[in-house]
Structures are given as C-alpha cells and as structure tokens.
Amino acid sequence: GDSVTQKEGLVTLTEGLPVMLNCTYQTIYSNAFLFWYVHYLNESPRLLLKSSTDNKRTEHQGFHATLHKSSSSFHLQKSSAQLSDSALYYCALSEVISNYNVLYFGSGTKLTVEP
C-alpha cells in the first residue's frame, strides 16, 4: 500500500541556517500527488506545497521542494530558517487528485528553530 516516510522526528536548527526535511514515499500510482503541510500548535494544519510533476521545483513562502520520482522523494527545503518556522511538518501523498483522494501522511518532523 501507499506509505510516506519522514526519517527525522525532531530537527533543531539555529536561525539563519538552511532547512532540509526529508520525505520519501512508496506508491504504485505514477501520478500520485505529494504535499507538505505545516501544523502550528493550536492551529489547523495548512498546505505549504504540492506537486505531481517530476523534477519540477515548487515554491511557497520561502520553502521549496522538488518531486523526484526516480528516488521517490519530495524533500522540503528553505535557504534560511526563521524562528517562526518552528512547527510540525508533514509530508503526505494522495494516489490521484480527485474529489475523494485520501491523504497518507508521514509521521511528521518537528522543527525547532533557535536564536
């Protein structure tokens, strides 16, 4: 079945350093969509990025990710971490983009950015 792996459960960085959160996935569907959601404490999880296009960089709010189907990866990156980036980050997969595509989430990475 479909699955998403986020190896790092906790990442702690100093402000200003680059961010890279890993995401790999397994699916039999060649047109699967990959997503990054960010979840701040006591708020709703919010969509950060999405992609289904191989080798195309997608960007939003300073974050970027590139879907690499050859390695089944969709790593989240940012050039310079900010204190406000501290949150839980989830990578998720949907088999096809349709009205009822269930999201399969990774276990999440808690990012803490320190001064």
């Binding site: 959601y37 006591n42 709703s44 919010r46 349709s98 269930v102 999201l103 989430f105 808690k110």
Partner: protein
C-alpha cells in the same frame, strides 16, 4: 487560511461514554474527511463524504463510530462507546476536489 469550523475544541469523556464532535466545511466544498491524529502525531484516515454520501471508511469507523454529513447541517463524528485509545485530535478537512483544508480539530480525552 482555512475556514473549516470544528466544535468543540476540547472534549473530555469517561470510558463507555458517547463522544460527538462537529465540523462545518468551507462553503462550496462537497467533500469532507475525518482524520485521527494520535499522541505520536500520526494521522489515520477515518471516513470521507461527498455531499451526504459516505465514500470510504476504515473498519474501525464502521464498527464503533457513527458519522454523517446532512445537508444544511454540520457534519458529525460520534464514537459510540469511548475507549482510552480514542484519546486523540480529530481533524476535519474539506475539499473542493483536490486539496484538503483542515479545521483546528477536536481534542478528545477519554479518562
């Protein structure tokens, strides 16, 4: 920003009690999902609806949960007989077809 409304934000129940939570999807979104996020922050899909019809649900939901999305009323998810292992954050998401927009969740504690 998401306009999905979930009530109550916090719910405390004893084992064996019913636990009911509600979700108002964003206007114009015909599809509603319920997910359970456990204490390890892991998400589990529970059930989804398109308009008032159930599209998919897992076994646990079929056996122990009651869910509906009536027209012109909030969607609801009810655990018929709460167990300690049901303590979690229950997230509702609505979709216009594609992306999902989440509410803030109902945090259920079963004592």
């Amino acid at each position: 920003n998401s306009k999905v409304i979930q009530t109550p934000r916090y719910l405390v129940k004893g084992q064996g009690q019913k636990a009911k939570m509600r979700c108002i999807p964003e206007k114009g979104h015909p599809v509603v999902f319920w997910y359970q996020q456990n204490k390890n922050n892991e998400f589990k899909f529970l059930i989804n609806f398109q308009n008032q019809e159930v599209l998919q649900q897992i076994d646990m939901t079929e056996k122990r949960f009651s869910a509906e999305c009536p027209s012109n009323s909030p969607c609801s998810l009810e655990i018929q007989s709460s167990e300690a292992g049901d303590s979690a954050l229950y997230l509702c998401a609505s979709s216009p077809g594609g992306e999902q927009y989440f509410g803030p969740g109902t945090r259920l504690t079963v004592l």
